[in-house]
Assembly symmetry: C2
Homo-oligomer: 234 residues x 2
DNA sequence: CAGAATCCCATTCGATACTG
DNA sequence: CAGTATCGAATGGGATTCTG
């Protein structure tokens, strides 16, 4: 109960709604997720609930303080909720709200746009979740329409399943040892990036990057061919 | 030439690429346009080149300093260029690059998403450009496919022409007294918002909000019916 | 591990004044 | 009009410490 600080009368201190007085939806979006790190936190939760330390580990450079603050304001904005997992686990996780999950197209469009910049550097590290989301962004829906498959994408400890069907490709964290038609095991997200976007041949990545492919290789080739980075401008 | 400041060795001070070390396109987008005000500046240029003072006037609360800084970093990022208009005018304007114009879908998706928030307040002021962009966002492309028209949208001093054709609706600033099939004159952007999104009847806005409609009113009704805000979540 | 609380410096912002 | 210069205040955010 500190009562000092008489230099400012503190009329409506902050909470969102402070930055831009603008009815434009874009401006309002920026009030909600326009602070540094906010949108990347949303991105990390896009494929399911995560714990504080998991989010922090995926965001190189964020401090505990800032992550705490951002999680608070995102919760307040209704983008995510904090939830206590059932009994035995009993661990706290952060999960997007229904509306929070609807931010995916916006995240994708931003990524698609930035990827077309002449100055985008794709050699930096990448989180497993952002690699998965980029695949959902860059998939050729036309070509994928005639391709049904269940594909395992295993990056280090992170295990995902992509269900390709009718041109759509939802991705979830793999519950357990689910059966898949093809499985890609990679030590790092960037290995998959080299394969899907760099079109580096399987053999090379298997020899030098620790890639392991299970299942029909011709099918794997067809799957990889579904993904392509948008053309640069200029 | 101040040479003090030995407290920091200043290795690679800034320039974009500083914030997030992340190959994810979304993260890179945030490096480029994630600073406060940046994306709104891009928005204001989305319908054509503008002068410093015009941008400033559309962004309530931005200071000259910050606008100058943002224009510089956006130019550096390749999002916009500064250009001197031909001879008689000889005035400086800022214009998006080809790639800068490609940001529109990202801006739209952010706006569409935010508009679905339960806490979005649509009663705040709105710039003419953001009203126009929102119309491009909220148009029902299905319904618009069978509707060809040239529509004038005149907000105070700002004059726009929307060319509805094949479900698309490019909007440009009106060059002069171009002929249109319908024209809406409104003193404020919010008047149009009330009409297109609030579905306030023409008569009421004509009586109390200074709305003036030229052309076939039945056609105008059909046109207005093409626009609708996305449903709130919840 | 998840976070709250402090400390404290660097950066950023906005207001104002000034200039070509 | 289109910025530049300066200054004080607010904010940001990293590091560290503490707690359940």
């Amino acid at each position: 109960m500190k009562l000092q600080k008489e230099t400012k009368v503190d009329e409506r201190p902050r909470k969102h709604g402070k930055w831009y007085a603008d009815a434009c939806g874009t401006a309002f979006a920026l009030e909600l997720i326009g602070e540094r790190w906010s949108l990347l936190i949303v991105r990390e939760l896009m494929l399911g609930p995560r714990r504080f330390s998991e989010v922090r580990a995926s965001l190189p450079g964020i401090s505990a303080k800032v992550l705490t603050e951002r999680l608070e304001s995102l919760e307040e904005a209704g983008v995510l909720t904090r939830r206590k997992l059932p009994s035995p686990a009993s661990v706290q996780v952060y999960e997007l709200t229904e509306w929070g999950y609807l931010a995916e197209p916006a995240i994708q469009e931003l990524g698609r746009w930035a990827a077309r910049s002449p100055s985008h550097d794709p050699t930096l590290p990448l989180s497993p979740v952002s690699m998965m989301l980029s695949m959902r962004t860059m998939i050729d829906h036309q070509a994928a329409a005639s391709f049904d498959a269940k594909v395992g994408l295993f990056i280090g400890e992170d295990r995902f399943i992509a269900r390709l069907e009718g041109g759509m490709m939802p991705i979830e964290r793999a519950s357990e040892d689910e059966s898949v038609e093809i499985a890609f095991h990679a030590p790092l997200p960037s290995t998959l990036a080299a394969m899907f976007y760099g079109k580096v041949p399987f053999a090379e990545l298997e020899a030098h990057a620790g890639l392991v492919i299970e299942g029909d290789r011709a099918l794997a080739e067809r799957f990889v061919a579904l993904f392509e980075l948008p053309p640069k401008v200029g």
